[in-house]
Amino acid sequence: MLQNMFATVFRRGRSLALLTAVVLGSSTWAFSLPADSPQPVTPHKPPLSGNPSSTSSDAEKKPTPIVIPFELLRSRHMAVQVRVNGAGPYRLVFDTGAPMNLVSNKLAREAGLLKKGERPLLPLFGMGGPKTIETLEIGAIKLHNVPTVVMDHPTVAAMSRVLGPIEGIIGFPFFARYKTTVDYQKRELTLVPNGYEPKDVMQSLMEKMMNPPKGKPEPRVLAPAALWGFQVDKADDDTTDGVTVTHVLPGSPADKAGLRAGDRLLTLDDRWTDSVADTYTAAESIKPGRSVVLVVLRQGQRLELTVTPRTGF
């Protein structure tokens, strides 16, 4: 497969510069590139045109769901038809597991994302820099300033060879802006704008990689968002479900809900509490004043207790 990689690079006609760079062990290759434009890495806030709920003045209007049919490929990936800067339509894979959008060099050239003569930053997979799509149209949706990366992803390329042209992936930065329902039976995506603004994940991960923490890594502290009034514990060799409640503060929200020391706490707001860390993680997302159900085992009985944690620390 490595030879295969080599062949990929060879096909791109960059081999000479590459080999020179590798043989000389210098950065010739890097410097022979067209001047790369450092991308502004401020978070994108694309205005949503075609999105009636995106402005507060329209808040009372109920946004209409937008239905987008998808093609179920023989590989059972979902494909949608997309226009990029007016070019296309192109077939892209819709992928809930993709934190970024990705388009092929072919699409990028045709849609004007690459300047004339602009070549990939890295020859492997035709890796380009981050780009911004001016208009992205999927069904009745038209989005502006959508971030994407340009890359001939080898898996997309392999799929294209078998299934016909596929020019990229549409992922999180698109569907996170909507309450998105995926229905394989109807082969439809249903989208309702929800005001969510996805972060630029490439940016934050790049920072994480560029500045790895120095010294001994600190553990992440799991901070409950409210005061509950109990303690839990679990022995290292205890592998059964849940954690044991060791102490309940008199008069606390947990006490008022009927939680008792000795109870085995199984879930908190439908989240498994199989370790002390799990219990704190579950409590991280519950704000003061929100009532949630704790499921406990007490003397073989399964009880559901409704607890309303309060503002406290």
């Binding site: 820099g129 969510y196 560029m210 509950w228 503060l249 498994w272 704190y280 309060r310």
Partner: protein, 319 residues
């Protein structure tokens, strides 16, 4: 942008020789660190396991009645949708919901922990497959494989949590799933009268080139000292309830026996500052304490009956 201008001409030279397959060459050039990292990220973050196309016909089963489930999820640091899963009652394990994956994938170490037998083709059947929130499937086929993307993300700690697998088409297609990242649960609705068509066995020419990333990632990790850090500790406990009054955070209740009680805090005390960070609203207090573990020393500045005083204490245990 400092990210874009820093070139690593010297210290990130990629050896043209693969450490494990000395006769093959990786033509990885000397390139700037940001470019390499971006390349790694894009390669790792999408289309898990899609090189495997076609899988054994066996349908996961769910109890008869149509049901809707609220499935807790979290977004990882890498912006993947993570749910927790128990396999044959063991776990919970961290799985990514991925319509870009043709099936369920489970790492080899998790499969070993769970004790499933892997068949000749690399597939195993899980007697029970429970997704947090009440979804309980039986007889779920999963592929036991260390996907290069999961492995790479775990090596570099990109997701912020260890990842154990991926939930792909063979489970996802059984449900109508609603994703809404403004709320903390996903909606799963089982489609009782729908038999999703199996993926066809397609002949994909050539290997999945993405596999070559594995050793490359290890090399990058070794060269740059990027290490995964998944350790967590509970926050320390003070033992007070507070309220906001006239732009101040006032202690409403002090629980007996807690760190706050031992340090002599009293109802009516105004919390002015924690370790010199000014406290105006309860959210400030949350911010000031959210990285403080059990036993961590704290200095609280409080105002009692018009007098300012400093209170030193060590946080206790509880939530």
């Amino acid at each position: 942008m400092h990210l874009e201008t820093e070139h690593l001409a010297g210290d990130l030279q990629m050896s043209p020789f693969h450490p494990y397959q000395p006769e093959t060459h990786i033509p990885l050039p000397v390139a700037s660190r940001p470019r390499l990292y971006r390349f790694i990220l894009v390669s790792l973050l999408v289309l898990f396991g899609s090189g495997v196309i076609g899988f054994p016909e066996q349908r996961p089963r769910l109890p008869e009645e149509t049901r809707r489930y609220q499935v807790p999820y979290r977004l990882t640091d890498s912006q993947h949708v993570l749910v927790r899963v128990k396999l044959n009652g063991k776990g919970p394990f961290h799985f990514i919901l991925d319509t870009g994956a043709p099936a369920v994938f489970v790492t080899k170490s998790v499969a070993k922990k769970v004790g499933v037998k892997t068949g000749a083709q690399g597939w195993a059947t899980f007697d029970t497959f429970e997704i947090e929130g009440g979804v309980r499937l039986t007889q779920v086929k999963g592929r036991i494989e260390d996907l290069v993307q999961l492995d790479g993300m775990n090596t570099l700690g990109l997701a912020g949590v260890e990842l154990h697998g991926v939930i792909g088409y063979n489970v996802l297609a059984r449900f109508r799933i609603e994703y809404d990242f403004t709320v903390d649960k996903l909606l799963f609705e089982f489609l009782p009268d729908f038999e999703p068509p199996d993926p066809e066995r397609l002949r994909v020419e050539g290997p999945d080139d993405i596999q070559m990333m594995g050793p490359f990632i290890k090399m990058i990790a070794a060269l740059t000292g990027i290490k995964a850090n998944f350790a967590t500790v509970p926050r320390g406990f003070l033992g007070i309830e507070v309220t906001q009054a006239n732009g101040k955070v006032v202690i409403q209740h002090v629980y007996p026996g807690t760190a706050a009680a031992k340090a002599g805090l009293q109802p009516g005390d105004v919390i002015v500052a924690v370790r010199a960070q000014t406290i105006d609203v309860p959210a400030d207090l949350h911010r000031a304490l959210r990285r403080a573990g059990v036993g961590s020393p704290q200095v609280l500045t409080i105002e009692r009956q018009g007098k300012m005083m400093e209170v030193r204490l060590e946080l206790g245990r509880g939530l």
